[in-house]
């Protein structure tokens, strides 16, 4: 999994509440052999018309936000189905951090498995960050996971909370596989012992 320590990037404002995973990635894109490649269909129905043309108004279609790495969004982001395709699509587009007042539980968990940092802040602070994001490409926001801070383009700093174990995993890029790989010495030792005892395996 991609490590997350510090991020300085463009933040896109998406002030809708209750953005569900169907909106993030509609079901017709689940018939895939990939986790990657879903970025082009991220927010598909908000982003394209029925002929597949971009809807100019949608924030990620605006020149200023095409390279966005941070989303500042409304309440209850990621509700609905448990599909991991939602964080897959976000990650594939390039989103590394999402800031909201609250997230749906499963989506929140899925983010950590895919190198995305979901940040929960109180409404007033999200409001400040939302206006900052609205400034466009010249305003870069900073996220520092180690320090647990978000800094606006004006230098205003907000601290956020995060579970220490999840923080550890994200900073070190550890998922289940990463954690198991931390026990590589035990696996190596087992393998050496087993291949001596059962060389035919």
């Amino acid at each position: 999994m991609q490590k997350f320590d510090k991020l300085s990037g463009i933040a896109a404002p998406l002030p809708l509440v209750n953005i569900d995973t169907d909106m993030i990635i509609p079901k017709q894109f689940l018939k895939t052999i990939k986790r990657s490649g879903l970025g082009v269909n991220l927010f598909d129905e908000m982003r394209y018309d029925r002929e597949g043309n971009e809807i100019a108004d949608f924030v990620l279609n605006k020149p200023a936000y095409r390279e966005a790495q941070i989303l500042v969004t409304g309440d209850n982001f990621g509700c609905g189905s448990s599909r991991e395709h939602a964080p897959w699509a976000l990650a594939d587009f390039g989103i590394r951090a999402i800031i909201s007042t609250s997230f749906a539980d499963i989506f929140y968990n899925n983010c950590f498995k895919n190198g995305i940092l979901p940040i929960v802040l109180p409404q007033e602070q999200v409001d400040v960050l939302m206006s900052d994001a609205e400034k466009g490409a010249n305003a870069r926001m900073e996220v520092d996971l180690e320090a647990q801070t978000v800094t606006t383009s004006d230098g205003e700093v907000f601290g956020f909370e995060i579970d220490p174990h999840r923080k550890h995993c994200l900073i070190n890029g550890l998922d289940d596989i990463g954690l198991t790989l931390e026990k590589a010495a035990a696996i190596d030792a087992f393998e050496a012992r087993a291949s001596a005892e059962r060389p035919w395996v």
Binding site: I33, I177, W200, V201
Partner: protein, 468 residues
């Protein structure tokens, strides 16, 4: 030393790490891979810049999607989605350097048939595959788990699986089987007796005289459906039959190592005084040739019975049976042998081995499939197919009016073009009779290969003992 079950012994021999909270890392000896549940796992490896830890222990074969008709090498034979999945497996196998049996290889077939056939599956091993019927390999005394896609990726990367230990369950089939009763009837009858959740949280060891008497093919049929009984895995202790089956297979231990392997394999049994968390005993003599009548593998009855009434069940099952009978188009009281069918499917990882084809051919010799029926045989692997041709079984099937197909999962799950049309009713040797499993609104009756062949001849569900 405290007494152990076979499961305990294999578990202990593969415990690579145990955390304080009891979470264990189990080392995996064989990882079997097919095209449907693996693409995202390989993709995950690539994205993280990881490799396959033990490519020499990883074996891939496309089976679920592949067409089973001649000319299937032609890309036009597959739908776009299927073509992409198979092509992805081709590429992943090459890129990561794992063992591979492509569609063009005569050894290609259903992953759970190819593994044992090539000698990849050996006693005392841990075997995993992104497929629930991995339990099949338990017939060799191997601990075999089905796993999900994230776990596939975990095993590819680490050669271990995160597990908590399951409980021990013993299923003993005592005595002898009556004529016409097969391994399929045993395994369906066990599920009928314990229910589809009866094995939840357990690893089942099948034992008893009737199990010992089964061939390796029959034992694989029994273990294959352990999952339908809810168990995490099914096991049968290895014996001389097991060793004979393995000897000389391409990936079996060679001279020198063979003796060493045998020494360990012979210790693989449950100790007499081992502790069991649950025991089920069934008399072999009490097992009849059975069929399923509903939409769950636990909906099993002897072929001599009639369709049950919903009211004869308890709790939530009453509604479930009502729905099942509606779906299946059956009426309570109807004799099972009066149920007319229009399709016969002989194949799958449950019953697609040579012995299954022999049993079906035995019934079909000199007979014809009833007019207007669709009947197909789909051998479990290219090698099973070749052997059946050599033995003259293919001719018997063709002359009887069966389609003689190429190897694959085919109508077991209908992911390829072999599907039931709505309302069609199939006598099937596969393992799942779920709604829609063999095609949208298709109706499935599970049974043994001999019973399926008998149904092909008469056009209705038939007691094999009446046909002789």
């Amino acid at each position: 030393m405290s007494p152990k079950t076979l499961y305990d012994k294999i578990w202990d021999a593969h415990l690579a790490h145990e955390a304080e909270d009891g979470t264990c890392l189990i080392y995996i000896d064989r990882h079997l891979v097919h095209e449907v549940t693996s693409p995202q796992a390989f993709e995950g490896l690539r994205m993280a810049g990881r490799t396959v830890r033990a490519p020499d222990k990883t074996i891939a074969v496309p089976d679920h999607n592949v067409p089973t008709t001649e000319g299937r090498e032609n890309p036009e034979a597959m739908t776009e989605d299927s073509r992409i999945q198979v092509a992805a497996l081709d590429k992943n196998a090459t890129d990561f350097g794992i063992h591979y049996y492509p569609v063009s290889d005569v050894r290609q077939g259903i992953v759970h048939i190819v593994g044992p056939e090539q000698g990849w599956t050996l006693p005392g091993m841990t075997v995993v595959c992104g497929d629930s019927h991995t339990a099949t390999h338990g017939a060799f005394g191997a601990l075999a788990h089905g796993i999900g896609t994230s776990e596939v990726e975990h095993v590819l990367a680490t050669q271990t699986l995160i597990q908590r230990k399951a409980k021990n369950m013993k299923v003993e089939i005592t005595g002898k089987l009556n004529p016409g009763v097969t391994a399929k009837d045993i395994t369906l009858s066990v599920i009928g007796a314990t229910g589809t959740a009866g094995g939840t949280g357990y690893v089942i060891e099948y034992c008893g005289e009737a199990i010992r008497e089964l061939s390796m093919e029959g034992r694989m049929t029994v273990c294959n459906m352990a999952i339908e009984g809810g168990a995490r895995a099914g096991l049968i202790a290895p014996d001389e039959k097991t060793f004979e089956y393995i000897r000389g297979r391409p990936h079996a231990p060679k001279a020198g190592q063979w003796e060493q392997a045998m020494e360990w394999w012979k210790t693989l049994y449950s100790d007499d005084d081992a502790q069991w968390d649950k025991v089920v005993t069934i008399r072999g003599e009490d097992i009849a040739p059975v069929v399923t009548w509903g939409t769950s593998p636990e909906d099993v009855l002897p072929i001599t019975e009639a369709v049950p009434a919903p009211e004869s069940f308890k709790g939530g099952k009453v509604d479930a049976v009502r729905r099942a009978l509606d779906y299946m188009g059956l009426t309570p009281g109807q004799k099972l042998t009066d149920i007319e069918i229009d399709t016969v499917f002989i194949g799958s990882c449950t019953n697609g081995r040579i012995e299954d084809l022999r049993a079906a051919a035995e019934v079909l010799k000199g007979k014809k499939v009833k007019d207007g029926m669709r009947a197909m045989v789909v051998p479990g692997s290219g090698l099973v197919r070749a052997q059946a041709e050599e033995e003259g079984l293919a001719d018997i099937f063709r002359e009887a009016g069966f389609e003689w197909r190429l190897a694959g999962c085919s109508m077991c799950l209908a992911m390829n073009p072999d599907q039931l049309a709505p309302g069609e009713r199939c006598a099937s040797t596969s393992n799942r009779n779920f709604e829609g499993r063999q095609g949208y609104k298709g109706r499935t009756h599970l049974m043994s290969p001999a019973m399926a062949a008998a149904a092909a001849v008469t056009g209705h569900l038939t007691d094999i003992r009446d046909l002789a």
